[in-house]
Amino acid sequence: VAQILIKIGDQDARPEFFKDGDPLVIVEDGAAWGRRESKDVWVAEGLAGVDADGVNRSGQTAANWPGGFFILRVLATTAAQVINFLQANADGIQQRAYTVDTSGINVASGSISATRAQVLARISLKSS
């Protein structure tokens, strides 16, 4: 299973900034996420209370998840396969050449799993 961290919401209108649907990070299943990237981590830390640095995380709940990102898990696919796909048709910062259509996806859930075919149906090269 490959995990793709996707930006939710436009950072800025100018082209040098990230846009809604931009794939940012691609890692294998099981790779760790930060509390601002993963709703699951955010909530789990909140339930656990104090973190390793002694910071009280008990205020972190599903209701106040910042929601800047969304994790798309691509079933039966490796991270290397996703990266190779994204590099096949683009130069430079490859993943920023593509966008993932997040319409109709419950991004507030923080993550979903999808088949490769389902993901391919939603991923496309940005128009230049």
């Binding site: 100018r14 760790a32 996420w33 930060g34 601002r36 929601g67 993943q95």
Partner: protein
């Protein structure tokens, strides 16, 4: 849009706010309304590098990336917080930006860091850091670009693991290099300066041709090199000190620029720089009668042999300084 917490922790192993600089950058507003400070823990990989372009910064609302306390390097590559990658690991084009207490390593021969102001009043600093790359001649380990720019490099070690150039500052406006080490494995022109630049207490070595090269009149003093260009350009300087004489190891890919045991030529022969109060690992300067040349300030044991500083954040004291039960 969510805004990154200030400061944010970046830990690829989890337990932080983000696992990559890229994700952290995605939460920085285009116009900063406060400083955005990333505290890096351990090793972070950015395979295609990270561009910082378009952000509006000010002297108080700047972008800073540094090693988190407890995860800072010991002055040797691979020992602390670091960002490795390719395609130019950090490609900075903003006005106010700082790197501190961190290692940036390019794994593909491209830039470790490129600095270029975005167009206004600016200040871009690299302090207490290690930058390395195999660095092709056209790319350098560090490139500082653009006129009317204001770049400061202090207490840092920059080196190429191959026979290539290290630091290109040609055309840069105001540039200051204090207490640094620049080293190449036989490449030519490792440190390219220009008119208006100031260089002090800095060692440049390993070059096949012209350790110090300038396209104009540089100022500064108390520098050293492995060839004869230090005294040709700067007063109170030292020539013909090979890197293998001064440092623990200059062997390619196992470099260690801590001071070689028994080497004292660079001890207490630097000039005082008011803005520089410590060394690459936080030891206060000076330790003796004057600043040392290079990134490390040696702690004199009272004899002729300097001790390398072991005063390192969250590091155990060496055996020689542990309390002994009587």
């Amino acid at each position: 849009m969510p805004v990154a917490p200030q400061p944010s922790t970046i830990n690829a192993g989890g337990g932080g706010d983000y696992t990559s600089i890229t994700a952290w950058k995605a939460d920085i507003p285009a116009t900063l309304t406060q400083e955005q400070d990333a505290l890096v823990v351990g090793a972070v990989t950015e395979a295609t590098g990270v561009p910082f372009t378009g952000f509006t910064t000010t002297s108080s609302n700047k972008i800073t990336i540094q090693g988190k306390s407890g995860s800072r390097h010991t002055g040797v590559s691979g020992t602390g917080a670091r960002i490795t990658g390719g395609s130019g690991v950090l490609r900075v084009q903003v006005d106010f930006f700082e790197l501190d207490w961190i290692e940036i390593a390019a794994t593909d021969g491209n830039y470790a860091v490129s600095l270029q102001r975005s167009g206004g009043t600016n200040s871009l600093k690299i302090q207490h850091s290690i930058l390395k790359s195999s660095a092709s001649v056209s790319n350098f380990v560090l490139a500082a670009l653009g006129s009317t720019s204001n770049y400061i490099i202090r207490n840092s070690i920059l080196y190429a693991t191959g026979a290539n150039r290290v630091y290109d500052a040609r055309g840069a406006g105001t540039l200051e290099s204090d207490n640094c080490i620049f080293y190449t494995q036989g490449g030519d022109f490792p440190f390219l300066n220009d008119a208006g630049h100031v260089v002090k207490n800095t060692y440049v070595g390993g070059a096949s041709n012209q350790c110090f090269w300038s396209g104009g009149t540089t100022t500064g003093s108390n520098n050293a090199g492995s060839d004869t260009t230090a005294t040709a350009q700067f007063s109170s300087s030292i020539n013909s000190i090979a890197g293998s004489t001064a440092y623990t190891s200059v062997t390619a890919t196992s470099e260690n620029f801590t001071t070689k045991t028994g080497f004292t030529t660079f001890t207490d022969v630097g000039v005082t720089i008011a803005a520089v109060t410590d060394d690459i690992i936080g030891t206060s300067r000076p330790q003796g009668s004057a600043y040392d040349i290079g990134a490390f300030e040696n702690i004199s044991a009272g004899g002729s042999t300097p001790w390398q500083s072991f005063v390192q954040d969250n590091q155990p004291l060496p055996d020689t300084r542990r309390a002994v039960a009587i």
